[in-house]
């Protein structure tokens, strides 16, 4: 028997189809302006907002509902709430971003950061006298198109679905160029830290290496060798899969895959942020985090201030 699909006069306003169609409408409007025109920038934020919400609605429109009022969830489920003067309220963009980061493995913290920044430009444009898109160079375009690409991919669509093949080709070149630029910038930073490191005395190096080793052991994160000084360093990232738990005797072993988002070496002070930059210097591979707990520990309430160094009295 074939699959069932219910006919309906109108699509739900929070459905991914309706939101995607809005994104397409604004994208076409956006492309009628020059890329350095403030209106191109402003319209791109609307496109982004609809894409973000559509990607979440693809999982379920209920993820868009503001949970403060259950009527919003009821509305998202396709019902008509009986509450008087009811106006459906969806979650704010920051919550959309947080949810997408956890749901879409390719929606990295870098893309999340870009989205938050771009949407805040829109808010500044609409709520204040400032003109953030007038003074903006077109550097943001690669971030915008990379984000759109990832969000559309969750539907199985290419960027051309939104902007047509011509603009897609341009966007691909832009993204590629941005990767090259990132790689150059990272390589420059690594070399600079290497030079400074090599100039240190061997005593200082040994001391710093030891401190870095202790730090990397005690901190939560994925231990790697620093590309500049080869000391123990850490990569921090965000989970891309749900944790897998298995029992090994009395122990609970939990493993989870992560995508790197940040690197830090306390020995030579090299810091790198963003998956694309980490990939450019060979630190972008996903990694698996394994935790072993006994049952008492596993079910114990989470410790306050987790992830911070031990308490100390430093000013």
């Amino acid at each position: 028997m074939s699959s069932k699909l219910k006919a309906a006069k109108t699509a739900h306003p929070w459905s991914s189809d309706a939101l995607l169609a809005k994104a397409q409408r604004y994208a076409q409007e956006m492309l009628s302006f020059d890329r350095d025109d403030w209106q191109f920038g402003l319209l791109s934020t609307f496109v982004l907002e609809f894409l973000l919400r559509a990607a979440l609605a693809r999982v379920s429109p209920t993820l868009l509902a503001d949970a403060k009022d259950w009527n919003n969830t009821y509305f998202a489920l396709g019902h008509s709430p009986k509450a008087l003067r009811f106006l459906p309220k969806s979650i704010d963009t920051n919550s959309v971003l947080t949810r997408l980061r956890d749901i879409l493995p390719d929606f990295t913290t870098e893309l999340e950061g870009f989205s938050a920044q771009h949407i805040s430009r829109r808010n500044e444009e609409l709520h204040a006298g400032a003109t953030p898109f007038d003074s903006l160079s077109t550097d943001w375009l690669s971030g915008f198109y990379s984000t759109a690409q990832v969000l559309l991919k969750s539907f199985g669509y290419e960027l051309a679905f939104l902007v047509g093949t011509e603009e897609e080709e341009f966007a691909d070149q832009l993204i590629e160029a941005s990767r090259d630029k990132s790689a150059q910038a990272v390589s420059k930073a690594v070399n600079a830290h290497k030079t400074v490191w090599e100039a240190k005395s061997s005593e200082d190096k040994t001391k710093l290496e030891r401190q870095a080793s202790v730090w990397a052991t005690r901190q939560a994160g994925h231990r790697v060798k620093c590309p500049a000084c080869a000391s123990d360093a850490l990569i921090f990232g965000s989970a891309v899969t749900a944790p897998l738990r298995r029992l090994d005797g009395d122990l609970i072993i939990e493993t989870q895959s992560y995508l790197p988002s940040k690197f830090e070496c306390v020995a030579c002070q090299l810091k790198i942020a963003g998956l694309s930059q980490l990939t450019a210097c060979g630190l972008g591979a996903s990694y698996k985090s394994t935790h072993t707990y006994d049952a008492a520990e596993y079910y114990a309430p989470e410790e306050d201030y987790q992830g911070y160094d031990d308490d100390n009295n430093e000013p």
Partner: protein, 206 residues
């Protein structure tokens, strides 16, 4: 299907074919008869085309989610009237699938709470296929891209010859995949009758 379960009433026959869908504003089984333009209303095909050819279309293309299948069953046949069928894939391939996916259209009239944006070709999440929607009367272009795509769609329709199927005898029944096939009706000869029962199906048992 020629003379499919001829002793059964249309409603019962349709239930053998699949799950009949109840749509807002429609009886479960509708009886279609030719009408002169003056005898009908402008919100219908008869009110616009009378007994002339009905252009190729998909049913309820202006709805957010059109019905999946439609079933037509002859109650009173007319050898002079054919149901026309054309595979939407032929047209989509001529116009270009990616262009159709970008072409936004809207119903010509407000529907429920407004004029929602629709795509001529879109993915259907439940079965990962694609749905084509087309109506030369009830849909209007909603963006600049769509205006030219609609013209190209019309040209592509003219370039293809639909297959004619005559529901001649009572019980002759066809099921149309409304997400893929376009259908229409040939003109009705003067002073002749034809009665076709129609139902929409959510799913089919075939």
């Amino acid at each position: 299907m020629r003379e499919f379960a001829p002793k059964l009433e249309p409603a019962a026959a349709f239930r053998l074919l699949g799950r009949v869908e109840s749509l807002e504003g429609f009886a479960e089984v509708q009886y279609l008869t030719p009408k002169e333009r003056d005898a009908s209303t402008p919100n219908t095909y008869s009110g616009n085309f009378g007994t002339c050819d009905f252009p190729l279309h998909t049913d309820l293309a202006h709805w957010g989610v059109p019905p999946r299948y439609l079933a037509l069953r002859c109650v009173e046949g007319n050898v002079g009237v054919a149901t026309r069928l054309l595979d939407g894939n032929l047209v989509c391939n001529i116009v270009g699938r990616s262009r159709l996916r970008m072409a936004l259209v809207q119903p010509r009239r407000r529907l429920a709470d407004g004029k929602h944006l629709l795509r001529l070709l879109e993915k259907v999440q439940t079965n990962a296929g694609e749905r084509v929607r087309w109506d030369p009367l009830f849909l209007r272009a909603a963006n600049g891209r769509a205006a030219s795509v609609l013209d190209e769609f019309r040209d592509a329709l003219r370039a293809n010859v639909p297959a004619d199927v005559v529901l001649e005898n009572p019980g002759d029944t066809m099921v149309i995949d409304n997400y893929r096939m376009l259908h229409g009706r040939s003109s009705v000869p003067p002073n002749s009758m034809r009665v076709i029962a129609r139902a929409y199906l959510e799913s089919v048992n075939l």
